[in-house]
Subunit: 231 residues, 2 copies
DNA sequence: TTAGGATATTGTATAAATTACACTAAAGAT
DNA sequence: ATCTTTAGTGTAATTTATACAATATCCTAA
């Protein structure tokens, strides 16, 4: 059989965005409530079809912007899901993207009536999602757990200024295990990627902790030189 | 602007397979010489369009089988390439797959006249490839270098029975750096994933080395229990 | 038969990294 | 003033990583 004798088939092609945030001690994910069938009223990852004249990465940014109001968000490709029956209305292949953002730094403001609203939900307890979005989320969560062990991506999820305890709590939540405080601090500080600020926490009813910020310049330099940062 | 007002656009959708092998001390990749335009006579990754009634993983296996004669090859998804201009004849989004096989265990035997022939080429010195396949290969090679550091995938590329020196040479070729022999053996054997056979190399003009085989059962058990195998 | 060439095999001492573990300090609340 | 809560800090023991070289075995060729 010769391949070219077969009919040329077409699929719809979409992107879905898994956007993680961290707030009030919990890992969160950005979801929209669907306003239309299929899966009307279900929670879903922000996603939509890719135009023929845009690259996939661009499409991911455009779709996220339209559905949530988030702009200029760094996203990396996660995985492509293309099971024949993943969409009830026909073949739709979707490329999932993965992103980490500072919740407080962005406001949610969807342009599209397609989504009722975009909101943060705790990853820990979620109702069932539309389509195969549960599966996509699981893949993204595993990627996050894996990635945080060798790249200092935790800083993406925290405010510009943060305490070491906040950073540790983030790691504990993502990795789902307790971490020794002294060893964690020793290790994290040994990377030399934190700048200690002349500033302390405010409005806490206990000893205020020092604030730190992430040294992005130094990180980029070290990364270029092939350093890695295993926790 | 409402998304649903826009015309529904269609793209072609393909898979491409990056199949690595190891032979005569070199890392090799399976390529076909294209028999048709575009990129007639160029070397290319085995790849073709996905049918609407098959999952992407299935498509990768079918396409590889048709173009090279290789069947039942384990493949994992690598990355999706979808730049608007990656294909000169229109928008084609492609999912790249990644595979490691034992060269000697398979014979190449393409069914399709689409490819002149499928052959192994040394990764070290390659002429330019068709489309963006150079870029795909680079991504795959990086994935291989990364993966071999924490998963014992080297065994996939060697014959059933192999010597520790062969294994070390494979690691050195892939990682592009020399490795200390004693430390390498210590480390590899400490995983407990090798079975020492009562057998030695034959037909070598020097001291014959012991042969080992990979303990796949034990590997699967340990993997299930969450062990990792960092080199 | 023997000497030489090639690769296989093995251990140890040192340095570095990881782990386990508990008390004092600071700040606000009562 | 004292209580509560979280911040901040060091060391000893263990494990892991690294650097390094001599002997063993087998084949080849003189």
């Amino acid at each position: 059989m010769e391949l070219n004798d077969l009919p040329k088939l077409h699929s719809d092609f979409s992107v879905d965005c898994v956007v993680f945030g961290f707030d009030k001690g919990e890992l969160r994910i950005l979801l929209i409530e669907r306003a239309e069938e299929p899966f009307k009223d279900f929670l879903a990852l922000p996603g939509n079809l890719v135009y023929d004249n845009e690259n996939i990465d661009q499409a991911a940014n455009r779709v996220l912007s339209e559905l949530t109001g988030l702009n200029d968000v760094y996203m990396e490709q996660l995985y492509t899901f293309g099971d024949v029956n993943r969409h009830p209305q026909g073949r739709v292949i979707t490329v999932a993207y993965f992103s980490l953002i500072k919740v407080k730094k962005h406001t949610l403001n969807p342009l599209s009536a397609y989504a009722k609203k975009a909101q943060w939900f705790s990853v820990a307890d979620l109702q069932p999602l539309a389509f195969d979005h549960q599966q996509i989320l699981e893949k993204a969560y595993k990627r996050l757990q894996n990635k945080i062990r060798y790249q200092p991506i935790g800083f993406e999820l925290l405010p510009e200024k943060f305490t070491l305890s906040q950073l540790q709590q983030l790691y504990e939540v993502i990795l789902e295990k307790p971490i020794d405080k002294r060893n964690f601090r020793k290790k994290i500080l040994s990377f030399g990627l934190l700048i200690e600020l002349d500033e302390k926490q405010k409005n806490v009813s206990h000893r205020a902790a020092k604030l730190y910020k992430f040294n992005k310049t130094r990180y980029n330099n070290l990364k270029k030189m092939g350093f890695s940062f295993e926790l």
